[in-house]
Symmetry: C2
Subunit: 350 residues, 2 copies
Amino acid sequence: MASRAKATIFDIAREAGVSKSTVSLVLQGSGLIRPETAVKVRKAIEDVGYVYNRGAANLRKAHSNVIGMVINDLTNPFFAELAVGMERVFQSAGIVPFIANTAENPVRQEEVLKSLMEQGVAGLIVSPARGTTPGAFRRLEIAGVPIAFAMRRLPESRIPVIAPDNHRGGYLATAHLIGKGHRRLVFFGGSSDLVVYHERLGGFREACETLGIDTRDMLVIEGETSRRGGIACLETALAMAEPPTAALCFNDAVAFGAMLALRKRGLEPGPDFAVVGFDDVVEAEHYMPALTSVAVDSAGLGERAAHVMIKMIQSRTTRAEDHIGAVNLVVRESCGPDRRTRNRSSGGAA
Amino acid sequence: MASRAKATIFDIAREAGVSKSTVSLVLQGSGLIRPETAVKVRKAIEDVGYVYNRGAANLRKAHSNVIGMVINDLTNPFFAELAVGMERVFQSAGIVPFIANTAENPVRQEEVLKSLMEQGVAGLIVSPARGTTPGAFRRLEIAGVPIAFAMRRLPESRIPVIAPDNHRGGYLATAHLIGKGHRRLVFFGGSSDLVVYHERLGGFREACETLGIDTRDMLVIEGETSRRGGIACLETALAMAEPPTAALCFNDAVAFGAMLALRKRGLEPGPDFAVVGFDDVVEAEHYMPALTSVAVDSAGLGERAAHVMIKMIQSRTTRAEDHIGAVNLVVRESCGPDRRTRNRSSGGAA
DNA sequence: CCTAGTAAATGGAACGTTCCAATAAATCAA
DNA sequence: TTGATTTATTGGAACGTTCCATTTACTAGG
């Protein structure tokens, strides 16, 4: 019904008895027009039910004010937080952020990127989908659109990255476990197609080596990065001849899975087998037992990424420095008391 | 660097030795042009690094192919699922869905809606922020943009709604508790500014009345819709002179909170106090004890909403029928065994 | 009273597409 | 051969803005 031909600045101009140029000036808040005129125009804008056509405007203006955030998995609160963090700063900078989800699917990612480009975004922040091919961003780079990676990076890309210090996180968590007296450790979950995996695992390895863990006591079990993956990892670990007594998990989901599996076997996460997670999602705090985890502050990283992007846009460059966010280990209950005190009461974890 | 003036169809035309109109036709996949010509043009498109300018196109075309999804809280996996479900069907319909988050803030919602309108969306699916004023969508309605509400509705709006059968969900869950032998029940969490609250509570009330629960044994404790809210509700309930023995919670977060609080008091959720959640988020299944909850299939509702929107756009109407999605109670462990058998072992829950 | 100078408002061209009407080339019926 | 028909291609106007160069109306200085 109500949809008569959309009102344009010409309609406003007629209604207010001025020229289209004047209306345009008012729309842009120019100080050149007489206040009374502005008021008159603004009233006309209301009256005709005008809605600004940004597409038409962008045809003349060099830059649009929308930026795209491409997220690999919005269903994961960890990445949702990232998006929300970015959104916060963009919003307050007068930039309109649009979020698109790729569901960890490179093909979908390609489509989404194409759409965003066609929409004329001023910039793009991407948490790339698993399995993204190295060339996926070439077209965007040659188009000269500012791009930044958040949270994840691609192996040999020159695109700036805003990510947590995964290596250090892995180190800190492992050092904590070793400090508790554990001498046979395992890294649970993740797979080598993800750069993040190598980083976290790298921290684990370095801690083990630096703090005197025998190489044969430093186990690695790959697996899905989900609860189910965690369950599987734990089963595998406990089936070993000499099972480990502590695990650093690729992420919290894996850790939850591992704890679940422990419980199912009648073992208590913490006293019987130490578990550390990664990411520190909200759930970690509320779990039973509360999960010790490496906090990466995804919302904060999102904010940082947004600031970087804004700077890139303003300075019309497509380059920026990487930002590596600080991490810190949040110690809760899932690692139990120090292992020395435990030795008295019972043997190994199997 | 690479950012020389953006290539247009004129550049392609020159490169391919045809007219701009021919290029346009190729771009639209028209069958009118000779295949060889099309090939030639497509090659030129590649060569000049062309990116389609949808804004310019929309200036002439009546309708755009982007639709906006406005979500109240992306951080909540429940709503994220909804968004992802919608995305799935839009994507396969060749429509580009952009997600925007309002963080439960009506002001932000207003801004987001404005932006989306200016961007020229073909339609809008909204899960309105808490506290949205009734008039918030008037401007969009008079602009003639198709809108649908998903998951939540506004009190007296004529905008079509796609939502779960909250009333029935409340009824089913309550009937389950009563079937277990509980006679003094409480509804935990939520507040009356949310239509959903009234619906779920309505189901609770109806079940109590129908199944012979005394009005004085039908308690209601409002509270935040979060873990913390659940904790508070439980404290309040157990502080009563005659505490209830079972709770239907507004959502799963409240239920988790309640269970946490029970544990803290040394009570076991299930045997000592029955808890039912609402929404059936993934966590519910993995909790300890696993949470009995009303499953609403948010992804499915999202898909449904997307289909409704597509139909609205195609038929150029702004009206559509409401869709009420089926719910079902997923029984797990958080309600314990039947209360009759329990009576032998111990007394009330306080 | 004229000239500068400032403030406010305006007309026209441009942005990159689509679509219509028109043209050009090729095919066919007679 | 001619005119009609089909097939492939094309130029021009339009879409709703912005921005530049002008115009118009005042004010002030001499």
